[in-house]
Symmetry: C2
Subunit: 341 residues, 2 copies
DNA sequence: AGATTTTACTAAAACGTTTTAGTAAAAGAT
DNA sequence: ATCTTTTACTAAAACGTTTTAGTAAAATCT
């Protein structure tokens, strides 16, 4: 069975292609009678308009591109979930690409998306992206662009983020209020803005509460910031500082859970000997023993909001309105559980 | 900046559009000299061929569609990871859609993909899909189709799966060999083939080892089969059977971990009072206390393999070769940890 | 009845490629 | 010098839509 075209319907009905096209799109200059006949025939022949032909004519692909560093993170799964649901509802398709934290790949993928003619792009940057020419190129082509979570300050476009600095500040402040003084930080890689911001929040909280910042208490996890990093970094922490540290604030829940596993394997009790505070509110954090205190990071909402912004900008562009970049900061929330008493 | 076309390059160079197109594609009837000039100009003008125009001419979109029930499952994240990496290497884009376990949505999404003119489709069925006309339609259009993980027996196309029945059989046999006799099963929804197969494997293992099958030990989890279901179902199990059950085999690791949380909250020790066996080898299973025995389910490999099959069929179709459907069964493996002694 | 408006259709061009069929000009063969 | 082949290009059609500009025929108005 070959794919059905307007022409075939037209021939079968003995009318012109124009009439068929207009009838299907309810143009006023086609009689009700003809419209019905055409629509019925289209339905019975199982007609689906060829998206490429439509795009070629209208320059609207009804497709958006999404680039993320890695999918196998609970947080990004949630974001994608939000993106897909929002896009689906508005009749947009989503082309998904993974940069695997690789700048070159990210660049290549952006080019692919441009070539495909997507109507807009949603991107969360790789940890290794320091050059933003590929993003500038998107803007030169006048394709709406939204950054989310892992953003670049210097790119002038709309962004959806959380206030990493404040969230970290709040978490560490909570630890301090509970009486902890020697608080370590397992931070993320040096590049990403949210890794930097969480670190700055940590530092500021210490300083604001009269605790001097001790660089030897800050450890850098691998690019992945996963369970294994947490385990290994906890080992290093204990080796360096034995039992002089009374709390640790980590870049992600996975790292926190890895650290807790190390503590448990070495009979270091949480929270009595050391308190732990995670980040993300990954659902597993409620299940650990003891349950993990963490920062709730609204992934689904972020995906939804970013998509909504993007679709707005696409609509604006169609109507010739230029969009002013806005930065949306989604609220976070401390989830206090048993890992800090 | 508008998007650059062949025509613009041609005008700038004072040659025909044909020459530009051919030069870029290394046709033999264009002189080396001209080719170089054209290529340089194309590069300097940042030319990217318009994918829709190419598709309209060639009927090749270099895009595949993927439909899955839900992304926020570690297993599916892994599968997608495999798909994206394989597709990326072969120059294919991936359009990702989520059916949210909804048959109507799944149908709609398949239609969208057909309309888009994807070169092939990869799908894992929703739990509520009982009618396969939408898949038949794909085949009528002669679009290569591969089913993975959640498949339909009656659809005649290539499939990539694990042997759920055998995997479950092996897991339960292991429990029996360790001396367990009253083994409960927290099964998945009634519809999905792998939920059925795992149940059948469970039942067969009991029967083969002279343990009579007791329907009251089988509980059906919600469609989600997540942590909460495990917790709630464990509660029901204990309410119904108190301490007469000595093991439980669950449909997923998440359910197992939920059950363990319930046991821990109610001072029921694992594995002394009750053993637990999960399914999937979600990385969290190695982190629980005690670490969870489970079945290793090769998600990444499944995505990679399914994509490879699909790309093969696409290639075959191009060369006019018809592909014979094959069923690939990926090996699973028991991971024995401390939840069954 | 003749002029005007409305109704209901269609032809043709356009979007950006690819490819078939062709054609001058240059080179080679007799 | 004439005929044949090769080289290096181009015109035009095609893919499947959408939309502009147009046109007969029917309906309405003087």
């Amino acid at each position: 069975m070959k794919t059905v075209t307007l022409k075939q319907i037209a021939e079968k009905l003995g009318v012109s292609v124009t009439t068929v096209s207009k009838a299907l799109k309810d143009y006023p200059d086609i009689s009700e009678n003809t419209k019905q006949i055409v629509k019925n025939m289209a339905k019975s022949m199982n007609f689906v308009p060829n998206a490429s032909a439509v795009y070629l004519r209208t320059q609207e692909s009804k497709t958006i591109g999404v680039v993320i560093p890695a999918l196998v993170h609970h947080f990004f799964s949630k974001v994608i979930d939000g993106i897909l649901n929002k896009a689906e509802k508005s009749g947009y398709l989503v082309i998904l690409m993974q940069s695997n934290e690789n700048y070159e790949l990210e660049k290549k993928q952006i080019d692919l998306l441009l070539k495909k003619g997507v109507d807009g792009i949603l991107i969360s940057l790789s940890n290794n992206t320091n050059n933003f020419d590929h993003l500038k190129r998107v803007q030169e082509y006048n394709i709406p662009l939204i950054l989310f979570d892992k953003i670049a300050k210097t790119v002038n476009c709309s962004k959806v983020v959380i206030d990493d600095r404040k969230a970290a500040y709040d978490a560490v402040t909570h630890l301090i209020n509970k009486g902890h003084r020697r608080i370590a930080h397992f931070r993320g890689d040096l590049n990403p803005q949210n890794s930097i911001d969480r670190f700055l929040g940590y530092k500021k909280a210490l300083e604001d509460h009269g605790i001097s910042y001790d660089p030897s208490l800050v450890y850098i996890c691998n690019k992945n910031s996963d369970f294994k990093d947490g385990y290994k970094t906890a080992a290093k922490l204990i080796e360096d500082h034995q039992n002089t540290v009374d709390a640790v604030f980590t870049i992600t829940d996975a790292v926190a859970i890895g650290a807790m596993k190390y503590f448990s394997d070495h009979s270091i009790t949480v929270p009595d000997e050391i308190a732990v505070f995670g980040f993300s509110n990954w659902f597993m954090s409620s299940v650990t023993n003891p349950p993990l205190s963490t920062v709730k990071q609204p992934g689904y909402k972020m995906g939804k909001k970013a998509t909504q912004l993007l679709l707005n900008e696409i609509e604006n562009k169609k109507s010739g309105i230029s969009s002013i970049p806005q930065k949306i900061i989604l609220p976070t929330e401390l989830i206090i559980r048993a890992t800090c008493s």
